[in-house]
């Protein structure tokens, strides 16, 4: 393992956009869904960057766009000096060894007709990770490492429980010895007790292999638990990004504040909470100015007209709000 420089930037995302066109028939005008709209952030080596947001905020699309499972509409994703958004297919496949993804649905993310062994060995062979002779041993160790028995090698996905299936997904991601793993709601479909097991496993693997995570979830408590820094997304944009302690103790954006107060937490007595009015606007009709002004308790005329800039409010604490302190 090479010597790590502290805070070396592993992934740099500049002005990333992903728009989808919908509708658009012969007589209908096409509409644009701005799923990810101009996101800029960096991921440092060895950290866990959490991304939280409600459904439809574009966080999953963002994760997929980083890996180019979706083609970005604009922007750069720079990894190792290469722009993933512009790579040729062949180079992209090579790069995919370094960046892996774990999905939410432990049922849909495994091919139901392939044994775990067949699935893993296919991936290992694609990237020539180990020689054929050592493959079996390598994979069995891998399965043990994620908390499964070597017998899992011969099993089909449906023979596992949800938690075990998620462990298989982790094994698949880990099989190619990646540097960065994108966890897209990786524990959201699991029961509480299993969720804790998988979270611990992810932490443990991170330490052992020096991994970097982008941890996407709607669950703020989980994100806070596992992340070093947390970004909050609202309607395709980052509204706040900061070290998790600073974010939790002094959230700068009113949306983050509302999000924190909305979480039912078992450790405390009932507290006064900010209940946001109304629904998340549809990404088809994004509000003018600040996207949050329709639900913001502090909104003024300025917010309706002028979009706030995503800028540093404190050391390493960024927010997009006219009135952030």
């Amino acid at each position: 393992m090479d010597v790590k420089q502290p805070n070396k930037i592993l992934l740099e995302v500049n002005g990333l956009k992903k728009y989808f066109s919908t509708g658009g028939g012969m007589l209908k005008k096409k509409q644009q869904v701005k799923a990810v709209d101009d996101m800029t952030f960096t991921v440092k080596e060895g950290e866990t960057l959490g991304i939280v947001g409600e459904s439809g905020c574009g966080k999953s699309t963002m994760g997929r766009t980083l890996l180019r499972l979706q083609h970005p509409t604009a922007g750069e994703v720079i990894y190792n000096g290469q722009d993933i958004a512009k790579l040729k297919n062949k180079d992209l496949r090579k790069l995919r060894k370094d960046i892996q993804i774990i999905f939410q649905d432990p049922f849909g993310s495994l091919n139901p007709r392939m044994t775990v062994g067949a699935m893993l060995s296919e991936i290992v062979r694609t990237h020539d990770i180990v020689s054929k002779k050592e493959e079996k041993k390598y994979l069995e160790e891998l399965l043990l490492e994620v908390g499964l028995t070597p017998a899992a090698y011969w099993k089909y996905p449906h023979e596992f429980s949800g938690g075990q299936r998620q462990r298989v997904s982790i094994a698949r991601a880990l099989a190619v010895q990646p540097k960065l793993i994108i966890c897209d709601e990786a524990v959201s479909a699991l029961d509480v007790s299993v969720q804790a097991q998988v979270l611990n496993l992810l932490q443990h693997l991170k330490k052992k292999h020096g991994l970097t995570y982008i941890f996407i979830s709607h669950d703020l408590s989980v994100v806070k638990h596992i992340s070093d820094r947390v970004g909050v997304m609202y309607l395709g944009k980052l509204v706040e990004l900061s070290d998790k302690h600073d974010l939790y103790e002094r959230p700068a954006h009113p949306y983050t504040q509302a999000l924190f107060s909305a979480i039912p937490d078992i450790t405390e007595e009932k507290q006064e909470r900010i209940v946001l009015k109304g629904d998340v606007p549809s990404p088809l009709h994004i509000p003018s100015g600040c996207r949050f002004h329709t639900r913001c308790p502090l909104a003024t005329d300025k917010c309706v007209e002028e979009a706030p800039v995503f800028e540093q409010v404190r050391d390493g604490h960024y927010a997009a709000c006219h009135y952030a302190e």
Binding site: L69, D105, L144, T149, A151, W154
Partner: protein, 297 residues
Amino acid sequence: MAQVEETHLPKEKIENPRVRMWKMMFGRLFQNKLAVFGGVVTFGLIFTAIFAAWLAPHDPTEQNYSAVLQGPSLEYWFGTDNLGRDLFSRVIYGAQVSLQAGLISVGIALAIGVPIGLISGYYRGFLDEYIIMRLTDAMLSIPALVLALALAAVLGAGLTNAMIAIGLVLTPNFIRLIRGEVLAHREKEYVEAGKASGISDFKLIIKHILPNTMAPIMVQATLAIAAAIIVEASLSYLGLGTQPPDPSWGSMLANGQGYLDSAPWIALFPGFFIFLTVISINLFGDGIRDMLDPKMK
């Protein structure tokens, strides 16, 4: 430490996976009594077709004017037709024609339809949307029999041409079916995960998507075999399929139609065998589909 979820379960014995897989698959197949029945009959029919020359007591084209329109007897098990030909022998030889018509024309349809459907569904785009789909729409808008008739007429009469015609007529169904399945599966996370693992498109299509579309293809194929046998029968009936005096179940059925009152067995026996073949292939196909599905117990 990583936590082993199965600590408290008894230690599992690891069986050779291939043996276990085949055991599981055939276990599933043999549990399904109807499928076993379908399989036995299907293979019986194939066997009959192959060994027709040894099994048939008479020459199927030999005419015996002293025994015209005779009912079933010890000599002529299924009776004789209006030209005094032994119906039992003709049914046996007819199995050759009908099974060929079914299997080969569906084989043609699969050979063309599966690759086109896979590519069309996986890559989408202009070719898929505006050429392949519109072409299949156009073909599907014409009744199958009419289209087969037109194609057979263009290609010329005869069994081979009839099979090609039937195969082409069946193709659009397969294209549409497979394309639809591929569309559903390409969005699944396991395909995305495969892509994210750097697996090539070709491998994703062949090793991941295709096996997951097998079940509906299987069902469609068995149904199509049945349909092909019937279309071939119809073509023969109209004089475009098997040429007389060669026997095919379809042409025999057509021939028997005129004698339904006086000699019903002429139509009855080929009709019954068409029915039996279609049913058993369907049952067998269902069984195979379940057998291939690892989720079935």
